[in-house]
Structures are given as structure tokens and as C-alpha cells.
Amino acid sequence: MKILYFAWVRERIGLAGEEIAVPETVRTVAELAGWLAARGEGYARAFENPRVVRAALDRRHAKPDTALAGASEIAFFPPMTGG
């Protein structure tokens, strides 16, 4: 699965994106965030307050309980501040 990071999520993890084989036991957006948080210090800091990290699945806004099933791209990012 292609995983993208933006703004301070990207800075904390130290990557703009990566290709990861996500275990089948990881079924939802929130479960993936929790699984990523265990990958290292930067990931842990990025997801230390999971409620403020937003996600998009295949370029559409997703909720924590949205299923990953069939998606090829997921992005994690802070609340948006454009406009």
C-alpha cells in the first residue's frame, strides 16, 4: 500500500511517502495509524495524538473506522489550513 504524509506528519516521520505491505489484521484507518505508530520514534510522535491526524483513502477524506479494503493509497495529515 502506498502511504503518504503531509505537513508536520511528514516532518515527524521524516518521509513524504513509502510503500508498505500492511498486514491483513490491520483493517481500518485507525488501526493502520496505530500500527504505524509502533514502527519508530518519528512515527510515534506523528501519531501521539491520533485524534488530530486526518486521513484520506484513495484521495477522499476517510474516518478512523473507514475500512482499508481495496484501497491503494492512504494519506495522513494534520487538519487542513488552506484558503
Binding site: A7, W8, A56, R59, H61, A75, P79, T81, G82, G83
Partner: protein
């Protein structure tokens, strides 16, 4: 004509508005909103040098196109143009443009405000503030969530 553009370069608000109405006689109202980079945010802090806007390529255009579709479902629009810039932007420069056209002013005003309110909370852009001493990501405002929420 409905147009969404994500670009690093500047835009010309008057030219974009003129393009929407060119050759048409059915448009009675055009509302043009431009959002600019301002430098008055620092409460006692160092002045703002620039904003750097990061975006999610692909999704930014798709999400704003979805918002324009939602606006068209709610109001009788005859045209709309939304342009959002990314990259480094200095105080006084343009950031975002929303132009809406409709037969009557009510729909054009409402749709322009709706598009700006929803764009702020749903379009994948993030502002990094560059000041003389620090660089900080701008925090999302509760007031923006409230402004977007009143349309639901």
C-alpha cells in the same frame, strides 16, 4: 464553465471573472472573492516573512471539484472558477480565488461563501509560517470548522 486550478503562479481575479461572463447574456451576478497573505497575525511575535503552502497533488484538485459539484447541487450556478496557489507566498500576494456566476446575486454570494468555508476545512492544503526567528505550521481554527458546519 466550471474550472478548478491548483498552481504555484499568481492569478488575475478580474481576468478570471471576465472569462466566466464572456459571450454570455444569461449571467446576472458575478461574485469574486480573493484571499491574500497578510502579515498581522503575530501577537507580539516576529513579523511574517512568508507562507509556504503544501498541498496533496491530485487530491487538492479532486476535492475542490467535489465541493464545486456540491455548490452546483445547492444553487443555480452558471459558472465557477476556483484557483488555489501552493508554494512560497509573501504578504500582499494572492492565495486563493473563488468566482461564482448565477442569474441572481443571492446564489452567487451564497455559493462563493460556501466554497470558501468548505475549502478551508476540506481542501488538502497546509500553511507553514516563516517568521524571522521560527517556522511553524498554522493550527486549524475552530471558527473555520464552525463556518463550514453551518452549511450542513
Amino acid at each position: 464553465m466550471f474550472t478548478v486550478r491548483i498552481q504555484s503562479g499568481d492569478f488575475d481575479a478580474a481576468a478570471e471573472a471576465a472569462r466566466l461572463t464572456q459571450g454570455r447574456t444569461d449571467i446576472g451576478a458575478v461574485v469574486t472573492f480573493a484571499g491574500l497573505c497578510r502579515d498581522d497575525d503575530a501577537a507580539g511575535g516576529a513579523p511574517l516573512v512568508a507562507l509556504t503552502l503544501e498541498h496533496y497533488p491530485g487530491m487538492a484538485e479532486e476535492e475542490i471539484t467535489r465541493l464545486v459539484g456540491e455548490a452546483r447541487a445547492r444553487w443555480p450556478l452558471l459558472g465557477a472558477t476556483v484557483i488555489h496557489r501552493y508554494g512560497r507566498i509573501v504578504p500582499g500576494d494572492n492565495i486563493v480565488l473563488v468566482v461564482t456566476a448565477s442569474p441572481h446575486r443571492g446564489a452567487a454570494f451564497a455559493a462563493a461563501e460556501f466554497l470558501m468555508d468548505w475549502l478551508k476545512t476540506r481542501a488538502p492544503f497546509w500553511k507553514l509560517e516563516e517568521r524571522e526567528d521560527t517556522n511553524d505550521w498554522v493550527a486549524a481554527k475552530d471558527s473555520d470548522d464552525e463556518a463550514a458546519g453551518r452549511w450542513e
